[in-house]
């Protein structure tokens, strides 16, 4: 059974390599805004050297955005076509196939994100080396570094499930562009894509920590920077696992209830 999904993963890997130029530009889309952000914060901190922004020094801020972009690239899973397939009645083309719909898209996402992450990491290497040479990098060591890997894997799964749950609401809603735009902005804020959640202040940050978006990007990033104690890392990993379980249940519920009301006409 897993062979089907492995085949989808390999097909997506090959599809990624077919249009290489398109793929390279999609990776450059991550690097350009990162450079802008790093240069901007360097200019901001140079106004008062040694200062901190809610506990973030210039090293912390630079490292945060670098790691957040890498993690964000790994956990991104935007599948507009899922909602489109539901609204256009083309979902039947998938459900008649001997492969689970959600599993199919998960394998596709891995086929896109895994090579993208590897190449992005390669392209980030000069930036990482440059920041390290300027003593602008603060990365954890030891157990935190090791625990970053399962945290990142959990974040990838979380990102996929959140995106899938959002798209499956198309069974009940009409045009989704506005909802998707608002979701993208809200989740971007809540997962720390725009700025470290510490900048929100302790109250709002605490509220954000109860939501799954927090563990999609912010938690693994903070873990790698070394801003988490071991007990906090353990708790965070457990909460990531809990959210994965809850979101799997949510996606399964949305799928089964959505399929009961789904209609498709034509061949």
């Amino acid at each position: 059974m897993m062979a089907k999904y492995a085949a989808v993963f390999q097909l997506q890997l090959r599809a990624t390599r077919v249009y290489r130029l398109n793929w390279v530009f999609s990776i450059l889309c991550v690097i350009v805004p990162l450079l802008g952000l790093l240069l901007f914060w360097r200019a901001v901190y140079s106004a008062s050297p040694g200062s901190q922004l809610r506990g973030y020094t210039i090293r912390d801020m630079m490292t945060y955005y670098l790691i957040a972009r890498l993690v964000g690239d790994a956990v991104s899973a935007e599948w507009w076509e899922i909602g489109q397939n539901i609204r256009d009645g083309k979902l039947h083309l998938f459900v008649i196939r001997p492969i689970g719909y959600v599993g199919y898209y998960f394998a596709r996402m891995l086929g896109t994100n895994v090579p993208s992450l590897i190449v992005t990491l390669g392209m980030f290497t000069p930036i990482i080396v440059g920041l390290a040479a300027l003593d602008m990098l603060s990365v954890a060591s030891g157990w935190s570094l090791l625990l970053f890997v399962p945290s990142l894997i959990a974040a990838v799964v979380l990102g996929f499930l959140i995106g899938m749950a959002s798209q499956l609401t198309a069974f009940w809603t009409g045009e989704m562009q506005g909802m998707e735009s608002l979701r993208r902005v809200l989740t971007g804020v809540l997962m720390g894509a725009y700025f470290p959640l510490d900048l929100l202040g302790p109250g709002l940050r605490s509220i954000a920590s109860y939501l799954p978006f927090y563990y999609q990007l912010y938690f693994p990033t903070e873990l790698l920077i070394g801003k988490r104690t071991m007990p906090q890392v353990g708790l965070g990993l457990a909460i990531q696992a809990l959210w994965i379980v809850l979101l799997v249940l949510l996606v399964r519920t949305l799928w089964s209830r959505g399929m009961r009301r789904y209609q498709s006409v034509g061949g």
């Binding site: 240069l39 140079s46 200062s51 909802m179 725009y194």
Partner: protein, 236 residues
């Protein structure tokens, strides 16, 4: 409802960036030579050009899909400029209300930033914004024309969006060599130049330069599209 949600999303995203600038200014500082109100004007100008572009020219991003599925042939058969149809064929009026936020930021920034602009300067600012929008269109049209030669370059459109996203930052934060690049790939003309029209003593020169660069890029876009179209072969 969808329109309202999109409006809120645009407003929220702009507000997040402005709030971040404000927090940084309050607790750390701002780039040398700038103040928070002036950054608000810059951010507002960049967002204004982006919204105008999204309202009028977002259909340009669909050129690769037109080439891919062959529907470009239908456009080429029309008795009008194909570039004009591809660029302005679908006006998204629903984006236009989002200019409220950047206009508000510009007005607030002008009032709080101590920028005293005369009537002619405001007119020149409008001209510079129009030039920035024109340049944005022309660069996008030039780059998207590549899809007539190389199929599947949708990511190039997103890459271009990210490049023009750099317009929201002061040009002074970039290293000197890169600042020259922002004039060649004229990101600087989207927001930094219109800002200088309001805040600089040489605003007439700056405004005329913006118009000249826009005219050059119009020529480049028309030439590039025509050149790439010669390589296009539709199968109907």
């Amino acid at each position: 409802m969808d329109f309202v949600l999109r409006f809120i999303a645009g407003f929220a995203e702009f507000g997040v960036l402005l709030a971040l600038y404000g927090l940084a200014a309050e607790q750390v500082g701002v780039p040398h030579g700038w103040t928070l109100p002036r950054l608000a004007v810059l951010l507002g100008a960049a967002e204004l050009v982006q919204i105008l572009f999204s309202t009028t020219c977002s259909s340009l991003y669909e050129l690769p899909s037109y080439v891919f599925d062959g529907s470009l042939d239908n456009v080429l058969l029309l008795p009008m400029s194909a570039l004009a149809v591809l660029s302005f064929g679908r006006i998204r009026w629903d984006y236009l209300p989002q200019i409220i936020a950047p206009l508000g930021a510009i007005v607030w920034g002008i009032a709080e930033g101590g920028i005293v602009a005369t009537g002619p300067q405001w007119i020149a600012f409008g001209v510079a914004i129009a030039a920035g929008w024109t340049i944005r269109w022309a660069v996008t049209a030039t780059v998207m024309s590549v899809s007539l030669i190389a199929v599947r370059i949708e990511a190039l459109a997103y890459f271009l969006q990210e490049v023009f996203g750099l317009a929201r930052y002061p040009a002074s934060i970039f290293p000197s060599a890169f600042r020259v690049v922002t004039l060649i790939v004229p990101v600087a003309f989207v927001a930094n130049v219109p800002f200088n029209v309001l805040a600089s003593a040489e605003w007439v020169t700056v405004a005329l330069l913006a118009v000249a660069v826009a005219a050059v890029w119009i020529g480049i876009a028309i030439y590039a599209f025509g050149r790439c179209l010669k390589s296009y072969c539709g199968v109907g």
